[in-house]
């Protein structure tokens, strides 16, 4: 109780929201003038929550994730990660699974998964052991010495997931990670993601334009407007866990939630189409 370090530790992960976004905006300078990608967006992601951001394509969802990850500066507003101001890359805090798998093509599957551990100063032997565990956990045992060019899209996605989970980030950002996969592989990966998330207890902020996917995965869904992105609606998803993403789509509750959110989303999708 006397040392502030001891009391700070658990409080920061349990009491504080994982991500707080307040009045955040982002403008880009383009040839035709200033383009507003995000306009005064505000929302909170609770610790341990699985939150899906849904919005029409090109509405600024990826830009928002990049700002939260600390890869892009915001033009205005505030951002707090676990109570601390500023986005930012701090080892161990944030994981980011990209839309395109961004594996290092010159490293084998195993070497890719080892990389975040090596960057954190984990000794090579231990990093290799932990990475190999994760390669097996995502179902790719036997493929650890393959290069990304020798793996299918689904396999590369699994490696990306292992690469993120291996260093146990408390927050995981996902930018339409399964968009490029076929439906079967995609449902399989979604179920595996839910299992891994339940086990790791991390916070997930998942971006998608697919409402089906969002409802199947999320605790809560935020619908964004067509560009510039603002919050259009905030919906809880009161479906039981553990879920099977293929079966839950057929339940009555799922359809009800879908209908309710679709009312809002439809207008935004139409708005984003009109603009093209």
């Amino acid at each position: 109780m006397t040392s502030p370090l001891v009391t700070m530790g658990p409080r920061s992960t349990v009491d504080l929201p994982a991500i707080e976004v307040a009045g955040l905006s982002k403008r880009f300078e383009a040839s035709e003038g200033t383009v507003s990608a995000i306009e005064s967006i505000t929302f909170v992601v609770r610790s341990g929550e699985f939150l899906c951001l849904v919005g029409p394509s090109g509405c600024g969802k990826s830009t928002l994730l990049n700002i939260i990850a600390g890869l892009l500066p915001a033009s205005g507003g505030q951002l707090r990660i676990c109570g601390e101001p500023g986005g930012g890359i701090r080892p161990g805090r944030i994981g980011y699974v990209f839309q395109r798998d961004a594996l290092l093509p010159w490293k084998t599957a195993l070497q890719n998964v080892m990389l975040p551990l090596l960057l954190r100063g984990v000794p090579a032997a231990q990093a290799q052991k932990e990475a190999l565990d994760w390669v097996h956990k995502v179902g790719l045992g036997g493929f650890e010495h393959h290069y990304p060019s020798q793996l299918s899209g689904g396999m590369r996605k699994r490696i990306s997931l292992a690469m993120t989970m291996v260093y146990r980030p408390s927050i995981i950002l996902m930018d339409e990670p399964f968009a490029a996969l076929d439906v079967q592989t995609r449902n399989l990966m979604e179920n595996e993601l839910l299992a891994l998330w339940a086990e790791a207890g991390s916070t997930v902020l998942f971006v998608t334009h697919d409402l089906d996917e969002a409802i199947a995965l999320a605790d809560r869904i935020i619908v964004l407007t067509a560009a510039p992105a603002r919050v259009r609606g905030d919906y809880p998803v009161p479906l039981d866990r553990p879920r099977d993403v293929t079966e839950i789509r057929m339940s009555g509750a799922f359809v009800d939630i879908y209908r309710r959110i679709w009312q809002d989303l439809r207008e935004e999708v139409a708005a984003s189409h009109d603009r093209r």
Partner: protein, 262 residues
């Protein structure tokens, strides 16, 4: 017959055809000289050329000159590649440096740098150092421009991913930029090897005490076509061997690009 063995036999047949074509050309050459259709003063003939090469190899005469030429080539190549890669990284990472310097470099790359040789000799004399600098000047620009282009072409998403995973600048260079550059660098070294050797040999045409260029230039000054050709044959054989080694290195650097599952 499976696809693989069919491919092998096609490959083998091409190889045999190639060998037959080469041999018939040599036989025709030899026959034409013997029949008096070609003047051996100008063209020599395959058998005497081979005899000369054999004599040179046995006496160790050619080894001395070959080593001198290869020494200059290799030293120049190493200096040029190292300087080129360092400058290429600086160019890739420092925007202002890139903006100021790149137009000069592109112009310098287009210039035939062999015209600098008289100036280099004027400053440093006819010793091997001048030739090393000549070779380095030939190699440095392709190495630099390749490194720069390779750094520019690295996938932004890969860099972002590495940064999120915790890579700072040094780790980024080690895990992302160096492997990306290595792929192209080996190809560039293979291509510039030809320039490098040519630079070393041209440098030896005038004023050198040792080296394949000196051997060939001396033979030419004595009107010995046979020795000029023998020198050329030795050079071709050595270039072929070096290229074989560089091709293996290139394959190694690009091993992750193979798409077939092994």
């Amino acid at each position: 017959m499976t696809g693989a063995s069919a491919a092998v036999s096609v490959h083998g047949r091409c190889r045999v055809t190639r060998l037959v074509a080469l041999l018939s050309l040599l036989v025709a050459w030899e026959a034409a000289v013997r029949a008096g259709a070609l003047d051996p003063f100008y063209t020599s003939a395959p058998l005497p050329i081979i005899a000369t090469v054999a004599r040179w190899v046995v006496s160790g005469y050619i080894l001395e000159h070959m080593l001198a030429t290869l020494g200059v080539t290799l030293a120049g190549l190493v200096v040029g590649v190292v300087l080129g890669v360092i400058a290429g990284f600086a160019l890739g990472f420092l925007r202002w440096f890139e903006r100021v310097v790149l137009p000069f470099l592109t112009a310098a790359n287009a210039m035939p740098r062999i015209i600098l040789y008289p100036l280099i000799v004027l400053w440093l004399g006819f010793g091997p150092l001048s030739r090393v600098i000549l070779v380095a000047s030939l190699v440095v620009f392709p190495a630099l421009l390749t490194t720069h282009a390779a750094i520019r072409q690295v996938d932004v998403e890969i860099v972002r991913n590495a940064r999120v995973l915790g890579a700072r600048r040094l780790a980024l260079i080690r895990h992302v930029y160096v492997p990306a550059v290595a792929l192209w660098l080996f190809s560039t070294i293979r291509v510039t090897m030809g320039f490098a050797l040519a630079g070393a040999i041209v440098g030896e045409y005038v004023g050198a005490v040792r080296g394949m260029g000196m051997v060939i230039a001396f033979a030419q000054s004595m009107f010995r076509a046979r020795e000029v050709m023998a020198g050329t044959v030795v050079l071709l054989a050595v270039i072929w061997l070096i290229d074989l080694g560089l091709r293996a290195a290139e394959r190694w650097a690009a091993r992750w690009r193979l798409s077939e599952v092994m």
